[in-house]
Structure formats: structure tokens, C-alpha cells
Subunit: 387 residues, 4 copies
């Protein structure tokens, strides 16, 4: 790390967090309308804007100091934290501008993003699986315990999904009829149970209002250079889609789902991009099971595969029916009318988003639907094997 | 290649070309308004639409038949040719739809694009450097000689730019003060001269109207799935930008230029993406020369570097002042008013595009400008060395 | 798969196994000297030799049919199975030849090996993690249950080591002081316990004589083309070394250990090679823990790390003191004198090999030694933290 | 670069060169037997040994300071220069030791080599295409002009071979029947002519005795850790073999040639390894031409391809009949008997080496031979096309 990179990282881990925390406290105290940002804490906002700009200007002046992927990724995260906070405090607002007013930040973010092969903003991995703690503290926007809770349980769920996807890829390597496939499917199932438990704990510990008013706003869409980039979300990692594909619950040649993969590709780390690409070309286990000739091994494999599918479906249902419902849909209804546009500014309108998530839930649960093809029929065939 | 892939490739190389050629003839005969598409050759259009759809449906039914990058890239090109022709004949039109009506084509294109790491449409490489000829015939939309001329000379220019960029990367590997650097700079200069000559021949042989009315329309923006993807252009390869960067004429941490790199990244082949990313982290030769202590080698290196910069500037000037001017700006002015929107539907409005290309030209020529920083001052320092 | 590749694969999965099994039965019945191969079952041996050669000649004639890494890897395994069986039955013998008499097999193996970046013989992954079962049967040399037991439990142990190494890499990504590090260390510990249990089951179920006389001989060194390649062994995967390195028990800049890494590099799959290379540049967790300032998190992290180190040490001790001892050292002592050379022909002399494995065990157990530096002293420092 | 890396690099570029030069002067003055090393300049040798060791010990103590591939590659070169000089001055000698006495150097070289995926010694690229000059001076062992001449013209030839191979790969991308194939074949031919001219200049300018007695000895085989690694030679780059393969003159599934590819693989840079692997799976142009249906394009393509083949053959003939003959075979004959073993210690005995090089020449010239299959017959078919 160069001196300038270090100074910026130090700021992001100290003053930056302090300022955001103070601002969140002010907003949240404003009981009549907690979503109100304008006109509150203007000095703090200016300090944030200017301190960041000064540090970034030094970095930019220093020029290219190539130190490998890890350093680039880390720097991109720090720039991204700054840009996301500016957007959260409405120092920038994509619908009001045609180009980010954060000129230095945009220039650096575009360069670093392009050079490491990711979108030019912070991504989920910066907050979770690649959020490097120093002496016990991970990076964060604020000191609010709710943010820490959100990030920690997100991380645990992502890691557990990755454990499951890693195991399933290894099943493909040995074939569904291999004696060790059963062990691997068991490993995948255990990992998905971990996801479920972690999500449940997140639900139990996270305060709805604090999340909705003080954490979520840092994940809004914003511009970098000319373009708007949607916010990071906890789903921006390959593992869950690899599970979808390898279990045969979702199909890469189905237009809705492949669109989704395309849209999230550059929000993932390069290794994750490669892993997802690889999984797109692999045969799925469901079809492999159903198309195999009968044999002694088959009932056990079917049972094991079914169990993994159910565990995956259960996390999807929990995500949609519990987490999205409680932490997004319900509080959104209570939002003062003037902020609605702002809410939807972070992507598609809420009803559209919810319908899309529902579709995904039903695919993962292999629930029968009239409008799209799910794996419901194939699941029935598997159950048939177990008669 | 599977049977279905082969059948589709055969169609793209035969009937598809024949239909497009017939349609172009009809449009072009319509002297009063050659840009008029609606209501002309409707049977041919329907045949194109349906024949393609049938072939694609078989392909989609066949499912995933992973045969490596080359096969995927090739297939994507074929799907892309079909989608681009549909758009050219206004069977689809992005401003009129919210999602491509070519459902099967979109599904396959999204899958294949995502799995090889490129945008889900045909790209320049499909037309030029990776356009696999069979028995003397490269792929094309039409049998028009003008299309062949355009593609062939584009290919020659791209290949020559790549020769130059390859040589410059090798200069970085040995250092600007190495005795072999001079040879490599010479190689780069010779290659850029080839670009100039090829562009000149293109200018001499290409018919303005035929290009404008019968070739260019195949390169319009269109939707794949939900999103609009801009058309391919002869610039979608890494070489020219690697030259820009290594010569120190453009900077990856300058916001306008890095935006441009980001925007074109996924239009390039994965190897090209990697090469461009690599070049973004390399030191540039201009700064390397200027910051070196004096030595015997320096005057010769400065002379050689200057020569390459001038050769590069010359091709940029020629592209803008000759090719863009003659083949785009002038004929656009004569376009009937009702097609103007259609023209700009393929990207930003023409004046905006022209201003952007002008900026690029001035950067490459190291011309002094008031609004942006070019390498003009540094070039003067180099000339100083030669006093 | 081409027709010829399929035919060869079919043969390897059927007749080839049958012939080897018959030969093993003959050898094993020869109670006075089970290591005697010469003069037994000569017809069967010739059939094996010739049938394989014929199939390979067709493959070679067919020429290059590039179908991606997976196909190449699989083909290499099949050729390797054939060559290893020829060597086991002493149809070839490296000390008697200067170049493999299996000309076609060598030619193909060298080509495929070079083109996928691995040594030109079958490797451990072909027998274990990438041994694709068809209808319940993995590939094997014989139908002997002991071979199946050996491969299955090897696979389980390898997979569990990989689980542990994957978790440790993720600890590096978040830092040892991260709240989720504890979870990941726990995952690693659980995985290492799986290794221990799997090894124990292997010990319980594997017959010493059958392993020693009928399975192990297929893993001997042999020539491919001009060079001798040592046999595959269950350690030819990156996971265990990644654990060694990340726990700080072994060091990549220590000459004995880096030699070991170099020697096994090309016996691993390309992804594993890359993973190991990556781990060589990562900081280790032991040093990271010891060099961090004090904090609330530290005692818990120290406890968790210590637990993982102990679990890793336990598997190393078990491998050396139980498995190597019972299945190699003891039976070797009983081997008729005339086969001793043959035994050692498969690599370094046994005592040298055993001493090397002992060193490795002591490094992994962080046992104090006089001749080499182990992590014993650092482990004491960690324990100090827990007072 | 860390302080220690910089200090070592500085030493390699200054004192190290000075000491070697002094030693070469002493050896060369010893007219009666210029190959005599023992007993000459012992103080200088000890200084070299010790100064290097001290610098390397600091480096080793500093520990892992991952700074990306380029830094690792560069460091490996510097360690390799030191080890090669020690071997040249017979401070180490592989046949007298079982393990390199340069313990620190070996440890570091093994680590760095393994971590970047190359053999743990300096390789040709360190001397030529990636020999980074500082202020006009490339790295070298001595200040002798002959060494500079040798390296510079080697570099030029390698670069020109690479130009040719790059062009041929692009021919494969467009197909031999593409209109631009002719241009690319022309480019390849021009590049091969450059090789010929550069080799000729090398022959004209290089002093036989100086090369034989004062330059060549630095390229001898030596141990790193336990293993002996053969010396670098000007052929350790992928380009020439890619040309062999794509022209159809050599075949990757022919055992002699694939053995050669395997043996040199890790002596090349990772990018070169990947390029060679890729070329191994590509169809060759000769077969592509001969198997195409007739067409207008065919005579021109045949003429162009033939020309490239001839140009390639010409450089091979020149290498063998001129360079190897004059600079190796003839002077070897005059070598005092006691050094003969030493000569062959650097690899296979001279006659074996010469026979191998002759074979290679004949393959490249497509000369008919009785013992091996060359492309002679196919070349005749091509000529037939031109009747
Ligand atoms: C009739 C001939 C040509 C015309 C009318 C033409 C026109 C254009 C236009 C209008 C653009 C802007 C596209 C956009 O951003 O939407 C463009 C971009 C570009 N063209 Fe051309 N072009 C021609 C031939 C060539 C040739 C032969 C090359 C050489 C490879 C070339 C290289 C480029 C490059 C590199 C760009 C990207 C912008 C840049 O980096 O300069 N063009 N061209
Ligand atoms: C004084 C000049 C040269 C001499 C005496 C010479 C000698 C040799 C020798 C003896 C070998 C065999 C090395 C071994 O296998 O141990 C060899 C290999 C090789 N040399 Fe040279 N060489 C010279 C210059 C060059 C140049 C300028 C090139 C051009 C790049 C070149 C390219 C090669 C190649 C490619 C090989 C590997 C075998 C092959 O593919 O032909 N050499 N050379």
C-alpha cells in the first residue's frame, strides 16, 4: 500500500464512519419523517464530501501504482464506500444529474473497476466475504450495531451457500451415481441448513426500522461517471446461482434467468464470475439422475438430492416470505409519499421487484406455476423413484 | 458442432444472406427514400424471421452442448447476425419494445454471451478478425461487394493496429532505453502506416451511399432480452487503446477515457479484455522516456517514439476527418427528416458522437486543447530533447 | 466424445478391469511369492497390451479433436490407466528401458498432458475427485473391493481436506480478527475431523496384503516417452499444502518444503496448481494472529486457530504412524529380497521416503525438532495468549 | 520493489557484472587452456559467492512480499543470474553435488519459481524479451561486447519469430481461404525474413572463441535444491513451435516432438505456455489447405503458405548449418579432453544433441527422411496445386 492509499483506508475506517454515524443519528431522531435527509447535518455532509475529495485527489495525482488484484479491489471498495455515502446523504442523486459530480472518485473508480474486471462501485464482497477486519473491526458505513449484524449474518449466509455450491460442483466431478456423491450431497444439505439458521438469526436480531432507515440507504443506485449502477445486494455472489443451476431448478437457457445472470455478472468478483460461467456449461444433477439407468445406487442418490433441493427451497422461501417481507415490503408501505420515488430510484418499482423475487422463490421451491416452467414435474419424477 | 449448430451456420451463410441481399436491393431501388424500410418486402422479412426462429428453437431444445469457447463464440455470432438483421429490417425496434420479441434468440444469446464473458450480441470480431471463411467466403449479411470491402479493410486495419500494440507492449518489457526498443518502435510505426494505407484504400473503394444505406444499418443498437446493446463498431478491439495508453496519449485515470474503456470492454473478446486490462496497469513510454536520466540512447529513442506517435495521430485524423466525415456526417445531413430519430436511436445524437470522436482525435494527435488535457506539452518536451 | 474416445473409455471400464482382476488373482494365489509377476498369465498380459494398443492407434490416427479441458483430462486418465497397468504387469519397466516401448500411448499422453498442463500420466484426481462414475461404478484397475475401498476413502479424505483449505482461505479474506473468522475456523476444524474419521475407516476396512500386493503396484513410477514419472499418490492435491501454509506450519520459502511443492505441482489439476500458487503468496494466520495488537477478539481466535492446528497435526500423525506404518513399512519388510529393488524403483529408497514423511509429520504437528525449524515456538506463544 | 529487492538488483547490475568480467578476462588470458576455471581468481569467486549470499539472506529474512508476477519474475531472474554465475565459476557443479550448496538461493528460487509457474532458474526471457534495460543497459553477466551482441540478436530473432507466430494464429482465426489470410501470411513471411537477417548479423558480429569460452558457460545446467535444471537456450519461447505446429511441419501427437514441447514448457513464461498449449489444439494450415474444396482463392493461398514454410525452413537450416556448426560443434572439437565431460554435463552428449537438432531442421525444411515422417509429401501436394 502506498502512503496515499493507506491514508484513505484509515479515513474510511475512522472519520468516515464517525460522520455517517452522526448523520444517521440526526436523521433517525427526526421522528416525523425518518426518510428526510435534506437540510439535516449540512456541515457534516460537507466535511464528508471534502475530506474524501482531498484524499482522492492525492491518490489520483500519485498515478498508477499497480500492486495486484487485491490492492485494486480494496481501493475500489474504499472509493465505493465514499460514493455510496455521498449518495445516501443526497450529495449526489442520479435522477438529478447526468453524470456524477464526484469527478475524482469517478475517474479512479472507472479505472480501477475496468482494470480488475468489475463494475466501478463497491460490491457485496467488499462488505462481506472480503471485508478485511483490522483488530476486530470490519469496514462499515456506520458504528450502528444493526449494520454490523446485517453484514455479519449476510456473510455467514453467503459463506454457507458457497460451501453448498462447492460441494455440488464436486458431485458433478464424480457423477451422481458415485458412492461419494451421497457424502457430498449431505455436505451441501448441511451447508444450506446453516444458511437457514443464519437467516433466522438475522431476522431475530435485526431491528426493522434501523435497517430500513439507517442501513439500506447506503445500498442505493448511483452514478459513476455517466452511468447509473444499481446498489449492491446480498445476492451478488455466484454460489446461489451455481446451486440453482446444478440442482436443475433454474436453467441458463431460460431467458428470465439468464438475464438475471448477465445483470449480476460484473457485480461479482472475477473468480466468482469464472465459477458461474463454468457452472453454466455443466450438466445438472436432476437431469443426470433422471436419465441414468436404474441401479442400486439410485434410491439413495434420489433421496439425497431431494433433500438438498428442499433445503435450497426452504432458504428461498424464508428469504422472500420472511426477510424481504418484514424488512422491505412492510416498512415501504409506511414510507411518506414524497419518498416513494426515491425508493424506486434504487432500481425497478417495488411491485416489479417483488414479483421477480417471487418467481425466483418458486423456481427454487420447484413450485408448479402456470406462467413459467419450474422443475415441479421433474421433482415428481424423482419422488416416483422413491416409491 | 452438433447437427443443429451446423444447420444454423449453413443457413446464416446461405439463405440468410440471400434474403438480406434481396431486401437491400428493394430498399435501394426506392430512390425517393432509401432509408424507408416499412412496407417493403414483407414476405421476405417474414421468411427471415420464421426460418431463423425455427432453427433456433431446435438449438434451444437440444440444450447445453458445451464445446468450448470457440464454438460458443461462433454460435453467438450467428444468433447475433440474425437478431441484427431483424432489427435492420425493423422486425424489432428497441424504442417500440421493452423487451426483444425474439424470445428464443434472446434466451440463447444471453446464455452464450454470459458463459463466454461477452455482450449477448454479435461483435466486431465476428465480422472481422474471427470471421471464419469457408472456401473463400467470409460470413456477411449480404452479398453486396460494399459490405465485403468494408469488412475486409476493417479487418486489415484492426490487424495492423494489433501488430503495433503488440510491439509496444514488448517495448515496455525491455524498457524504452533498451537497444531493441528502437527496432520494436520501428515495427509499431510500420504497422500504423499499414493502418493508414488500409483506411485510404477503404475510402477509395467504398461507395458512400451503399455503405450508408445498405451496410451500416446492420450495426444498429437493438435489444437482447430486456436491455439495449449498442451496435458493433470497427473500434471494438483492444489494440488501439493499448496504443493510446502505452504511448501516453490517453490516460486510464482520466474520466472521459476510462468511461470509454469501460463501455467497450464487453464488446471485445476475453483475450482482448485481458490485454487491455493489463495495459491499464503498465507505465507509459512517454513518461518513461521523459523521466529517464540522459544517456546516449535517448535521442534515438525519442525520435523513434515521436514517429510512432505521429503515425498514430495520422490514422486518428484520417478516421475522423476523412472516414467519419464522408461516410457518416455528410450523408446523415441528407437523410429525410423522418429517419433522424432512427439514426440517433442507434446511440447518442450525431453531434454528441462527433464531438466525442473529435476529442479522441485530438488526444491521439496530442493537439493542444483548452477543455481537456492532452499530451501536447509532453510532446514539446520530447521535441526539446532532440534539439 | 468421438467414437474412438468412447470405445477406449468403454474398454477401460470393462475388459481392461476384467483382465487386471484375473491377473491379480493369479499373482495373489502364488502364496510363496505374491510379488512375483514374471511368467504368470502371459496370454492375459499380451491381450491387455494389444487391445490397448489397437484402440490407441485409432485414436492417434483420428488426430486432434479438441473438445476442451474435461475431455482431454479424461482421455489422459484412460491412457494413464493403460500405461500404469502395463508397468504393473512388467510389460514395461523403467530401469530396463531408456524410453517407453508404449509408443502410441506415450505420443498421445505427451500431447494431451502438455496441452492441459499436467504430467503425461494418470494422476490422483483421475482415481478420486474426478473419477466419473457411470451407473454406480467409478473407474478402477480391478474389481477388487480393496481397490474400491482405497479409492473411496482417499476421495473422502481429499474432499474433506479441500473443505478445510477452502475455509482457511476465506479466513485470510476477512482477516483473523473478523467475527466470522471463528465460524470459518470451526468449519475447517470439522472438516479435518472428517479426514481423521475417513482415514480411520480406511484403516479398518482395507486389507493389508491385498493393498500391498494387488492395489499399490498400479501406482509405480514408469516412463512416458523418455522420462520416468513417479506414481500418483493420495497427496497430489493442493488442499493439504494450502492448510500447511495458511496455518503457518510450513513455509514456502523453506527449501525442503518448497522443493516438495515444486515436485508435486504438475501432478495436480491446473485449478489446484493455481490455488496452491495463490496460497504461496498469502500471509499465514499464525503470524497474523501473533502480530496483531491485543483485543477482545484475540483469545477466541487463538483458541480456534489452535484447535485447527491440532486437528491438522492429528491427521498427519495418523497418516504416518498408522497408515504408512501398517500398509507400507511393515509389509515391505516381509518382501522377498529380489523385489526390493523393484520396490524402490518406484521412487527414493524406503528409509529416505519414511524420513521425509516423518519430517512432514513433525512440521504439521509443530513438534520441536533439532534439525529443522518447526512452528513449535510460535505455538507456545499462542498458548501463552490463552493463559 | 522492497529495499532488499532493490539492493540485490543493483548488485546484479553492477558489482556482479564487474566480478564476472574480471574472471572472464583471467580465464581468457590463460591461452593454453581457456576452459580451465579451477584455481583462477579465487578471491573474486569468493567475493561473488559471499556478497550474493548476504543479499539473499536479507531477502529471505524479509519474508513474502507478494508484489505480483512481474516482480516475482524479475527476482527469479536475479537469483538465477547469481546461481548460474556460481556454476560457471565452478563454485557449484551438479555432478559433484546431490543438492545445491547455495541454500538460500535455492530456497528463494524454488518458492518464487513455483509461485509464478516456471522452473526455478533464470530463463531465456530474463536475458532477452524481458530483460529490462535501465538507462541504456540491459542485464548481463559480463561487460563483454560479445555477450551483448549475443543477447541483442537473440532478442531480435525471438521477437521476429513471435511476430510470425502471432500472424499465423490470426490466419487460423479467419481461415486459410479468407481474403485477409494472404496479408497475414505475408506478414509472417516478412517476419521470418527478419529472423534470417538477424541470425546472419549475429553470425557476422559474434566472435567464436569469446562466445564459446566466455558467454556460453553461463548457460550450463545446474542444481536448484535437489534437481538439475538444464541451461536456458535461445529456443525457450513458444513462437517457433507455434509456427512449426500451425504450418503443419511438426505434429504435437508425434512422440519426439511432443516430448520436446513437454521438456521446454516450464522454461517459458506462463503466457507463452498458454499460447503453446492453445496452438497444440488448433488445426494446422497445411492440412486445412489440402482438405479444402477447390476455389479461386486456393492458388494464391498455396503460394503464400509455401513461401512461409520455405522462410521457416531457411532459418532452421541457418541455425543448424551455420550457427550451431560454427559456434558449438567446431570449437567443441578443439576443447581439451579433460573438459569434454564438463561440456556434456550441460545436457546430453554433443552428438546426441546435434542429431536431435538435425531432425528438427529436417522437419522444418520438410526434407524427406527415412526414419521419421516429415511434411515432405504434403509439400509436394501443395506444389501440385500450383501447376
Ligand atoms: C467507412 C469507414 C468508417 C466509418 C464511417 C467509421 C465511423 C465510425 C464511427 C461513427 C464511430 C463511432 C461509433 C460509436 O461510438 O457509435 C467509429 C468508432 C471507431 N472506429 Fe470507425 N469508422 C470507419 C472505419 C474504421 C476503421 C477502418 C477503423 C480501424 C480499425 C476504425 C476504428 C474505429 C475505432 C477504434 C472506433 C472507436 C472510437 C475510437 O477509439 O476512435 N473505423 N467509427
Ligand atoms: C551463436 C548462436 C547460436 C548457437 C550457437 C545456438 C546453438 C543452439 C544449441 C546448441 C541448441 C540446442 C540446445 C539444447 O537443446 O541444449 C539450440 C537450440 C535452439 N536455438 Fe539456438 N543457437 C544460437 C542462436 C539462436 C538464435 C538467434 C535463435 C533464434 C531465436 C535460436 C533458436 C533456437 C531454438 C528455437 C532452439 C530450440 C531447438 C529448436 O526448436 O530448434 N538459436 N541452439
Amino acid at each position: 500500500m502506498t502512503q496515499n492509499t493507506k491514508a484513505f483506508d484509515h479515513w474510511i475506517r475512522t472519520d468516515f464512519v464517525a460522520i455517517n454515524t452522526q448523520l444517521e443519528t440526526l436523521y433517525f431522531e427526526h421522528h416525523s419523517d425518518r426518510a428526510q435527509v435534506e437540510g439535516i447535518g449540512d456541515d457534516l455532509k460537507q466535511q464528508l464530501l471534502n475530506d474524501g475529495r482531498t484524499l482522492l485527489a492525492s491518490l489520483l495525482a500519485e498515478g498508477n501504482t499497480d500492486e495486484g488484484f487485491d490492492a485494486g479491489f480494496d481501493l475500489l471498495g474504499n472509493i465505493g464506500f465514499y460514493m455510496a455515502a455521498c449518495r445516501r446523504h443526497e450529495l449526489t442523486e442520479p435522477s438529478r444529474e447526468t453524470k456524477s459530480p464526484l469527478v475524482e472518485a469517478s475517474a479512479l473508480a472507472l479505472q480501477v473497476g475496468a482494470s480488475i474486471g468489475m463494475i466501478p462501485r463497491f460490491s457485496t464482497a467488499h462488505l462481506t466475504t472480503h471485508n478485511q477486519a483490522i483488530n476486530g473491526r470490519a469496514k462499515s458505513f456506520t458504528h450502528l450495531p444493526d449494520e454490523a449484524i446485517f453484514n455479519e449474518f449476510n456473510t455467514r449466509s453467503i459463506l454457507a451457500y458457497q460451501e453448498a455450491s462447492t460441494a455440488l460442483i464436486k458431485v458433478v466431478d464424480v457423477g451422481i451415481s458415485s458412492p461419494v456423491a451421497i457424502d457430498l450431497l449431505h455436505t451441501a444439505g448441511v451447508a444450506l441448513k446453516k444458511v437457514f439458521d443464519s437467516n433466522q438469526q438475522l431476522n431475530d436480531q435485526l431491528d426493522v426500522d434501523r435497517f430500513f432507515y439507517s442501513v439500506r440507504p447506503y445500498y442505493k443506485s448511483h452514478r459513476v461517471g455517466n452511468n447509473i449502477y444499481r446498489g449492491a445486494n446480498a445476492g451478488d455472489f455466484a454460489g446461489i446461482n451455481i446451486i440453482d443451476l446444478l440442482l436443475g431448478l433454474c436453467r441458463a437457457d431460460e431467458s428470465y434467468y439468464s438475464q438475471l445472470l448477465v445483470d449480476k455478472m460484473l457485480y461479482m468478483m472475477p473468480d466468482d464470475q469464472a465459477a458461474l460461467r463454468n457452472a453454466m456449461r455443466l450438466p445438472n444433477l436432476l437431469d443426470a439422475l433422471l436419465s441414468s439407468p436404474d441401479g442400486n445406487w439410485k434410491a439413495a442418490a434420489a433421496t439425497a438430492l431431494l433433500k438438498v433441493c428442499r433445503a435450497h427451497g426452504a432458504t428461498a422461501e424464508q428469504h422472500h416470505n420472511l426477510l424481504v417481507e418484514r424488512f422491505i415490503r412492510v416498512p415501504s408501505q409506511q414510507l411518506a409519499a414524497q419518498h416513494h420515488q426515491n425508493l424506486t430510484a434504487s432500481g425497478p418499482p417495488l411491485p416489479v421487484l417483488l414479483a421477480a423475487l417471487e418467481k425466483l422463490r418458486d423456481l427454487r421451491c420447484a413450485s408448479p406455476r402456470h406462467d413459467i416452467v419450474t422443475a415441479a414435474a421433474k421433482m415428481d419424477q424423482v419422488k416416483e423413484l422413491l416409491r
